[in-house]
């Protein structure tokens, strides 16, 4: 067993090392921490299974194949590596927490503890991870090229060969949904991240420095917010009619400025706190104040808002694709699939129902995660 030490050094046993290197999570399980163990084991099994699927379908031919496989493979290997390392680190930390007498739990540890006890959050996280997995490793999961048509067999009903049916070009709906997840998540995620950075940055500046910066920023925000979001996006997209994916991302990124407002109010409330004022009076540099005090407090709400925003952005992108402003054919996207399905609703309901369900499930995952994060990171529980 582990040596008991008073503080500081805790070492893992050889047994822990060996088990964890075979499969991350085994080390946890051997000590009785089933929850954590499964948390590591799960993704590893999933990645392994996907890899196996790819290998079984194409042997190792894809190693020499088109670049898209390379990207997915690299990501997969990187992820596996990270999982292994993190499992070890986490095991070490958990052992340490168990053994050390004066081990104090930080805010984040407490938060993640609460999180792990909340079924809502777990469900949300699992959904999102699954969707992300599908998006990242789409080339391994599809049977055929999603743009491949089968013009003699259009509007095929769901069958063993085509589990979710075929669309009006005979393309497999399931394959298109799998690839569509890339567009949905890609645009949703990138746009939201752009959003967060830009909005967060501006909100930080405006909230902290006030004065001119703040005033200008607020005016700008007002003008952009004065018109219903969808209308503004439609107008801008019309200018950039041929922009495709990039324009969608940029537009959503810049104009979904909700986070900026929230960050700003967070910053406003924090900067009046005693510890900030005292730090300032002592002469701590502005940069340090921001980094050490303001930012960490803002991050909690930032996290919640980000998660909810991704959900909203996915729906907005679907709506825009539905109206005809999305990615260009023949690239599959859920919103565009719904638009194409409108005409065939009566005769081929599967074209409309399944992509819609995918949107709902994905967004639901993000929303429920966001909800759970908000409960968990509630500043009053600090």
């Amino acid at each position: 067993m582990t040596e008991r030490t008073e503080k500081g050094r805790v070492r893992l046993q050889t047994q822990d090392w060996v088990l964890s290197l075979i499969l991350p999570g085994l080390g946890h399980i051997s000590r009785g921490w089933w929850g954590k163990g499964l948390l590591f084991l799960g993704p590893v099994m999933l990645l392994g299974a996907t890899l196996g699927l790819g290998v079984s379908k194409q042997r190792f031919a894809w190693l020499a194949g088109p670049p898209k496989y390379w990207v997915s493979t690299t990501i997969m290997l990187v992820l596996l590596f990270l999982l292994w390392t993190w499992a070890l680190y986490d095991l070490w930390r958990m052992v340490r927490a168990e053994q050390e007498e004066q081990y104090v739990r930080g805010y984040w540890q407490m938060a993640s503890r609460r999180f792990s006890k909340d079924p809502k959050g777990i469900v949300g996280l699992v959904i999102i991870l699954l969707v992300v997995h599908v998006a990242l490793f789409a080339p391994f999961l599809v049977r055929n090229d999603p743009i491949k048509m089968d013009l003699r067999n259009f509007l095929g009903r769901p069958s063993p060969l085509h589990p979710l049916g075929q669309d009006n070009f005979g393309r497999d709906v399931l394959d298109r949904i799998i690839y569509g997840s890339r567009v949905a998540l890609g645009i949703g995620a990138v746009a939201t991240i752009l959003n967060m950075f830009l909005g967060g940055f501006l909100g930080l500046l405006g909230g902290y420095f006030r004065g001119m910066t703040d005033a200008v920023f607020m005016r700008l925000l007002e003008v952009v917010n004065s018109i219903p979001f969808l209308v503004l996006v439609l107008l801008i997209l019309s200018v950039w009619r041929e922009g495709g994916i990039l324009s969608l991302m940029v537009i959503l990124g810049i104009f979904g400025l909700q986070p900026a407002r929230i960050i700003r109010s967070e910053v406003l409330s924090v900067r009046e706190q005693d510890y900030v004022l005292s730090a300032k009076s002592v002469g701590v540099s502005t940069w340090r104040i921001i980094m050490k005090y303001v930012l960490p407090n803002a991050i909690a709400s930032l996290l919640v808002v980000t998660t909810m925003s991704i959900g909203v952005n996915i729906i907005v992108v679907a709506g825009l694709s539905f109206l005809g402003f999305g990615v260009r054919p023949p690239i599959p996207s859920w919103g565009a699939m719904l638009q194409e399905a409108q005409e065939y609703m009566r005769t081929a309901w599967w074209m409309a129902v399944y992509p819609g369900l995918c949107i709902i499930i994905t967004v639901f995952g993000f929303n429920i995660l966001g909800d759970s994060l908000r409960d968990v990171l509630d500043p009053r529980l600090k």
């Binding site: 004065s226 979001f229 107008l235 539905f322 949107i359 639901f364």
Partner: protein
């Protein structure tokens, strides 16, 4: 209070002005010539040019901008592709969207407020879990998909409701309204239910959160300690206070209603201003887009101001001056 209102209105004017510049710039940058659309295929170059001149598109930009602004204010701005003044085009279709929005809002409130309240009161019960989960689903469903499903199920398969469009309407001094006729009312059901769905979900969550917050307040505990009956506590104190943020939020939802209306109207062929916006952008009718965008922005901002005033009215602790 009065001073505050005046200040807000002045602010609104400035913002609207900045917006006009933004929208004008976007319109000018948009590729696509309405004159070619009007002339159709097979037209001579002279015809296209003549139409451009008639629409004023050959003048320098500042002149065009001025024409748009002044035309909007004196009500004479002509639409480029509709043969009518812009205001007429907008006002013709406004009642339809207003009906849709109002009904959606009513449905949303009638369902969501009781649901939110009850789920807060009976926290952690089965009811609570159901309501929160359904509400979470509600904000995850795309409005247009829901409209399609409703049309499919109730319109085509079950045949109990008309599938699309607006029913018979009655002409009044203030426009044409359809909800007063049975036929019109039936046509209104699917679009307003679809539009209401997202509002319903958001409101339910908000009501619940607000109610929970209120229930934890000191004065509630005091009221209970005083021995007041639970019902009185709830209705007299909790309810009213919890309602405040919800009511004000409703005002802000005007914006989301408009966005949702665009999608709903397009899917269900409802002839309102949401659909008009899409149509006008598609036809590159710069006058209508300009006027309509500003109109929507004005409504939006006025509703914000109203909301703020309402907030101050409901909660006497808040003052603006």
């Amino acid at each position: 209070m009065f001073g505050y209102t005046v200040r807000r209105l002045v602010q609104m004017v400035f913002v609207l002005f900045a917006l006009t510049l933004l929208i004008f710039a976007l319109l000018k940058l948009m590729p696509g010539d309405p004159a070619k659309v009007m002339a159709g295929l097979g037209a001579r170059i002279e015809t296209i040019e003549a139409i451009r001149v008639k629409l004023g598109l050959d003048r320098p930009w500042p002149v065009q901008y001025w024409r748009l602004i002044s035309g909007l204010f004196n009500g004479e701005l002509e639409a480029m592709t509709y043969h009518k003044p812009v205001w007429t085009v907008i006002l013709e279709r406004l009642p339809a969207t207003f009906e849709l929005g109002a009904f959606a809002l009513i449905i949303a409130l009638v369902v969501s407020i009781p649901a939110g309240m009850l789920s807060a009161i009976y926290r952690n019960s089965v009811l609570d879990y159901t309501v929160t989960t359904v509400a979470l689903m509600g904000i995850s469903i795309p409005v247009f998909w829901l409209a399609l499903m409703l049309m499919l199920v109730f319109g085509v398969i079950l045949r109990v409701l008309p599938v699309s469009g607006r029913g018979t309407a009655i002409e009044t001094v203030v426009g044409r309204w359809s909800f007063v006729t049975w036929d019109g009312f039936r046509h209104l059901i699917i679009p307003s239910v679809a539009l209401a769905s997202v509002q319903m979900a958001m409101n339910a969550r908000l009501t619940r959160a607000s109610m929970l917050e209120v229930l934890q307040q000191e004065y509630i505990k005091t009221a209970r300690a005083k021995g007041l009956k639970e019902r009185v506590v709830l209705v007299k104190h909790a309810f009213r206070n919890a309602l405040a943020p919800v009511v004000t939020n409703v005002g802000m939802q005007v914006g989301t209603l408009v966005a949702g209306a665009v999608l709903t109207e397009t899917t269900t062929a409802w002839p309102g201003i949401g659909r008009l916006m899409i149509e006008a952008i598609s036809r590159r009718d710069q006058a209508v887009v300009f006027g309509l965008a500003l109109f929507l922005a004005a409504i939006y901002m006025v509703s914000y101001i109203v909301v703020d005033l309402l907030y101050a009215y409901i909660d006497p602790r808040i003052t603006y001056d």
